[in-house]
């Protein structure tokens, strides 16, 4: 007899379903459904009270309509009413409707909770199960509040029926997942763990999911589960196929439970207790042995179940990574599966081997399968399997086989499925960089990559090749030559043009000796691509052109001609037009020396972790990365980057994060290491930027004060940087108000958690300066940057600096950092222009001894005129010409704006080039200001 008596359905429902199925068109179906919905609605609203059967029927119809993809916006109340019915079938359909259609923030939850409460206390196991199901399926916070204390009691009570126990275990698991704070295991812990010993296998099956989840979160409290799990596993594995009766599935004893037990053990390190460990190793060996035995059945279910256990056992062996014997056996077993006729097994073997490749013991063993894996990449019909093969090749790659693997991946890329191309490109780029011994191979590989899959080459990839070429002078000539050749192709990808423009602009001179690649030929080649490119690329090419003028003066006339033509100088795109105008002017006004300074070769980039890796990590989640990271730490020395400090490529970040269009962040903008390095967009600021270079290249701010002092005369730059974090500043001041943008960049690939920043004004500063800000997001993803805005108001003059405290968790460790924020009194300067006469008159007025502060000190930096001028301008005062009788001296005037008063300040700086000394004199209407300014400035020159 069938368990479901097919006839007991509801006639009206069957008729309705048949109607729907007979509808000839979508329109007819919708019409029929709308008619039915109207009917049900009127029935629900009608005066006549509906009996349980009708309600049940209508609710069932609604469920069917929902399945067809129509939103159900009524009937919830009727479903809730059914919950309190005494009839099982009515209750059941009510619960079903709620499980399927009610989400966790519905306002009906309270009513539902009432019904659940009744059913839980009914002592009718079937009703209890229905109620527990409902909690587990909806799993709202409110339900957790109502039942989190009740469920554990049901779970461990001696008189609870097995089926209820099973439901209670999973119900508790769901509540724990939604509201871990409400589920307090404390007193129940040991009894829950002992459910692993329960007589009823179903109870163990349900309980193990709960225990696994709890163990992941509180490994110490649940440690005792390890020995219990081992003994349970051992009993199952050693049992004959008939021992467990119903739990034997196609001659395999309790496969599901075995898998779950093996998973649970993967939450822990190998057992410390020798006996337990011995027993476990025995189990694992038995499982491996069984794989070699002839199958007890030809059915695919039999081998499936057997292999499910085998794969979990192998995962556990890999997880322990401590038993070389077992690891080798596991590897051999997977090797067999690589060539198995079952696609599923090939897929899983490739996947498991990927994790095995990162084990020290088995990395070599995995490598022996390289031909098989390459073959899989070429011949598998199923893209899922090919993708796993590509993952495995990536994981097994090392210096010895990198060339072969990269070549195979490149050739696969030509025919690869679109869905996995971008990821493949990233992988090739990473491997090429990581295992490059000669860099010409690296350059060839990346250029090939662009040729084959240009569309999938992201910014990170081509930024990276440029960084590497710039940092390694032994490859620059080769890169220029290769890229020049690549550009000869009639159709080349825009990314190739970008790389070409950049590299020739920097290193075109290295190949200019050959008449076939003379400067003009290079220029014409680049310019032939210009019109086919997008705006950002054109902008980059314009920068390359101006660099050409510097590299090859003989091209100047031609290039100026190009810049001067209407399509450039009157281009409708602002960025292009501006570049054309500025570069044209720059090339005609500036002397060769200035030009050479401005357009100097790019300085080497700071060594950092490849941004490509960060991108891949983002794409693939943690799983795919562990392998790489492990390899990173193993082979640090050999890396291209020499394992310098790791952090995402800030330059690339700047380009993609700042609101300025990325083109302006290329050639010239990339130089300032600040993430806020908005490109200098006028020739003037461009010059200043070059002069104030001291900032970013100064040694990293190990002393927190150090960063502070560097900002007295400038507003933007990097305040602080270490291996983990970079803090950039951009600020602007007006009168007594200021706004400071702080950019926190996570240089690692790991998320920062609980990231908090506090700005405080110590001591009397509190009454002098008003700093306001909003809290920042507590999570900073690896490679990401977040921004914080401070609004600053100067109430009265001040000498101290506000403090910025930063706390966050990196990995497990709490990081704590306090910096002085570079808010100094001079930021509130308004420049004041005045004549020589006025200046000296005021100078004399401020003649009280306290009003003057003077300091004589040795020069710490270059005494170059332009540098000094730039600094004094950065100070915020007006630099007055023709005031001091001695033209070597500098005088400045300004008014400091505070809320309460204005403070006039006069400054005189007398350099003595011979002695490399300065004398600095300040006179201000307020004596404390004189002293503070003198202190600050004495350390700037």
């Amino acid at each position: 007899m069938p368990a479901v008596s097919k006839g007991d359905g509801m006639r009206g429902l069957a008729v309705f379903i048949s109607d729907i199925r007979n509808c000839k068109s979508k329109e007819a179906e919708i019409k029929r459904i709308n008619k039915e919905l109207a009917n049900i609605r009127s029935k629900f609203k009608g005066d006549k009270a509906l009996d349980g059967y009708s309600k049940k029927k209508y609710v069932c119809k609604l469920l069917f309509i929902f399945l067809l993809g129509h939103d159900i916006d009524f009937g919830h109340m009727e479903a809730v009413n059914l919950l309190s019915s005494n009839k099982y079938t009515e209750k059941q359909i009510g619960y079903l409707f709620i499980s399927v259609l009610v989400n966790s923030n519905s306002e009906l939850i309270r009513l539902i909770n009432n019904a659940i409460k009744n059913d839980l206390s009914s002592r009718n196991p079937t009703f209890m199960c229905l109620a527990l199901h409902c909690i587990a399926n909806v799993g709202s916070r409110e339900m957790a509040e109502a039942f989190a204390s009740e469920i554990p009691r049901i779970l461990v009570a001696g008189d609870t029926m097995d089926s209820v126990k099973q439901s209670a275990a999973l119900c508790l698991l769901r509540l724990y997942k939604t509201s871990p704070d409400l589920v307090l295991m404390g007193e129940w812990t040991s009894r829950v763990v002992h459910l692993l010993n329960d007589q009823h296998m179903g109870v163990v099956t349900a309980a193990i999911s709960l225990i696994t989840c709890l163990s992941q979160k509180n490994p110490d409290e649940f440690k005792t589960c390890v020995s219990l799990a081992v003994s349970r596993l051992s009993r199952i594995v050693s049992s004959a196929s008939t021992d467990l009766q119903d739990y034997t599935y196609y001659f395999v004893p309790a496969p599901w439970l075995s898998c779950k037990l093996l998973r649970l053990l993967q939450c822990y390190p190998p057992p410390e207790d020798g006996a337990v460990k011995g027993r476990l190793v025995e189990c694992l060996e038995t499982i491996l042995n069984k794989a070699q035995e002839p199958p007890k059945s030809k059915k695919v279910q039999h081998s499936n179940a057997k292999n499910a256990i085998l794969f979990e056992a192998i995962s556990l062996i890999i997880h322990y990574d401590s038993e070389p014997n077992l690891l080798v056996r596991a590897c051999n077993q997977l090797g067999q599966f690589l060539q198995h006729r079952e696609t599923n097994l090939r897929y899983l073997a490739l996947e498991s081997m990927c994790t095995l490749a990162s084990s020290e013991f088995s990395h070599e063993a995995v490598k022996t399968h390289i031909e098989t894996v390459i073959n899989a990449l070429k011949t598998e019909r199923d893209v899922s399997v090919r993708q796993r093969a590509a993952d495995l090749l990536y994981a097994m790659c090392d210096r010895s086989n990198a060339k072969q693997i990269v070549a195979e991946m490149l050739s696969y890329l030509e025919t690869a499925d679109y869905s996995i191309r971008e990821e493949m490109v990233l992988k090739v780029a990473i491997l090429a960089e990581k295992y490059a011994i000669d860099y010409s191979w690296y350059v060839d590989t990346i250029l090939n990559l662009i040729r084959i899959a240009g569309d999938y080459v992201s910014e990170e990839v081509w930024y990276r090749v440029i960084q590497i070429v710039i940092n390694r002078d032994d490859v620059q000539g080769y890169a220029a030559k290769t890229v020049f050749e690549a550009l000869q192709a009639p159709a080349c990808h825009e990314n190739m043009v970008k790389v070409g423009g950049y590299i020739l602009g920097e290193f075109g001179n290295l190949i200019a000796g050959d008449p076939r690649s003379s400067p003009l030929v290079q220029f014409n080649l680049l310019h032939s691509k210009f019109h086919l490119c997008s705006v950002p690329t054109r902008a980059l090419l314009l920068s390359a052109y101006i660099k050409f003028i510097n590299l090859f003066p003989e091209t100047k006339a031609t290039i100026q001609e190009v810049l001067r033509c209407d399509s450039q100088i009157r281009n409708s795109d602002v960025e292009l037009q501006q570049r054309a105008v500025e570069y044209l002017k720059l090339s005609s006004i500036a002397s060769t020396d200035v030009l050479a300074t401005v357009l100097e070769e790019m300085p080497p980039f700071p060594e950092r972790e490849s941004s490509i890796l960060a991108k891949l990590k983002k794409k693939k989640g943690p799983g795919a990365v562990s392998v790489t990271e492990l390899e990173d730490s193993k082979r640090e020395g050999g890396e291209l980057n020499g394992g310098g400090d790791r952090g995402p490529d800030t330059a690339a970040m700047a380009a993609s994060n700042t609101s300025t269009p990325s083109p302006s962040a290329d050639l010239l903008g990339i130089r300032s290491a600040a993430p806020v390095g908005a490109a200098p967009s006028s020739a003037g600021s461009l010059l200043v930027d070059v002069f104030s270079e001291a900032g970013p290249t100064a040694p990293s701010a190990a002393v927190n004060d150090d960063g502070f002092l560097r900002f007295v005369c400038k507003n933007n730059g990097v305040l602080f940087e270490n291996q983990l974090l970079q803090i950039g500043i951009k600020s602007e001041y007006r009168q007594n108000l200021g706004r400071m943008y702080l950019f926190y960049g996570n240089k690692t690939s790991v998320q920062f958690a609980s990231f908090t920043t506090t700005v405080s004004c110590p001591g009397e500063l509190q009454s002098q300066l008003n700093v306001q800000t909003k809290p920042v997001e507590p999570l900073v993803e690896g490679g990401a940057q977040i921004q914080q805005v401070l609004n600053i108001e100067c109430l009265s003059d001040f000498s101290e600096a506000p403090l910025l405290n930063i706390k966050f968790r990196y990995g497990g460790a709490l990081q704590n950092l306090t910096l002085k924020l570079p808010v100094t009194i001079n930021k509130f300067f308004q420049p004041t222009e005045m004549s020589s006469h006025d200046f000296f008159q005021r100078w004399k007025q401020l003649s009280q001894p306290q009003q003057e502060a003077q300091k004589i000190f040795k020069a710490n930096h270059s005494m170059d005129t332009e540098v000094l001028k730039a600094k004094l301008l950065g100070l915020g005062t007006a630099l007055l010409d023709n005031v001091d009788p001695n033209p070597e001296n500098y005088v400045c005037a300004g008014v400091i704006q505070t809320k309460s008063q204005q403070v006039g300040c006069l400054l005189r700086l007398e350099p003595n080039a011979q002695a490399q000394m300065y004398r600095l004199t300040l006179r201000c209407s307020k004596d404390s200001v004189s002293r503070r300014l003198c202190e600050l400035l004495a350390q700037q020159f």
């Binding site: 069938p2 368990a3 479901v4 008596s5 097919k6 007991d8 359905g9 006639r11 069957a14 379903i17 048949s18 199925r21 007979n22 059967y53 069932c60 929902f66 399945l67 067809l68 993809g69 939103d71 159900i72 099982y88 079938t89 059941q92 079903l96 966790s104 199901h133 587990a136 399926n137 799993g139 099973q166 439901s167 999973l170 119900c171 698991l173 769901r174 179903g202 099956t205 349900a206 999911s209 696994t212 739990y247 599935y249 496969p255 599901w256 059915k299 695919v300 279910q301 179940a305 499910a308 794969f311 696609t343 599923n344 090939r346 899983l348 199923d382 899922s384 993708q387 693939k620 989640g621």
Partner: protein, 192 residues
């Protein structure tokens, strides 16, 4: 954890949708469509696992599916589940349906959607596996049926109605689901 269980036919018509994480109704339908699109274009004899579509959570989730005659059974699971284990679980579920309905076919799922849900509830609860023993599951379903009977539902008349409906000349009369061996090919019934 199992995030969703989807059953749809060769044409993508959903026959059972069960989500264990909340998705709005229209999103549920989109996920079914996306999943159908991903699964249906795959040949037989390729592997039974693939990465989840972007709507359901992308590569952090796997779709594990089996194709029986006219129906696809798709489980969307996270990385904590054993792929082969889930494949067996689908088999257990289908075999249970077969026992409960006696040679289950697509029409049984259509006309007894509620029953299918109840059977599924005995296997999976809140996204976690409750029971894998078929006899135990069937026993629970039988308990439910006895209670239903004892409450004296209408019985014989609708039964006739349903069997009449089943024999009507409908556009698609699905074959019985063949559960013995998934490798047996069933000729496609699709009109294309």
């Amino acid at each position: 954890m199992i995030k969703a269980i989807l059953i749809f036919n060769n044409h993508g018509k959903p026959r059972l949708i069960r989500f264990y994480q909340y998705f709005a109704e229209d999103m549920q339908q989109q996920i079914v469509r996306e999943t159908f699109h991903l699964v249906s274009k795959r040949d037989d004899n390729v592997c039974n696992f693939l990465e989840g579509g972007s709507l359901i959570g992308g590569s952090d989730y796997k779709l594990i599916y089996r194709h029986y005659a006219t129906l696809y059974f798709v489980f969307c699971v996270d990385s904590s589940e054993s792929e082969l284990g889930i494949l067996d679980l689908i088999q257990v579920f289908v075999e249970t349906l077969d026992k409960c309905f006696e040679n289950v076919c697509e029409l049984d799922l259509i006309f007894h959607m509620d029953k299918v849900h109840y059977i599924l509830q005995e296997v999976v609860m809140g996204g976690m596996v409750l029971e894998t023993n078929m006899n135990e599951i069937v026993a629970q379903v039988e308990v439910q049926n006895r209670m239903e009977k004892s409450e004296g539902g209408l019985s014989a008349a609708p039964a006739r109605a349903v069997s009449a409906v089943k024999n009507m000349n409908l556009p698609e009369i699905p074959r019985n689901i063949n559960i013995g061996d998934i490798n047996i090919k069933v000729p496609s019934l699709s009109p294309f």
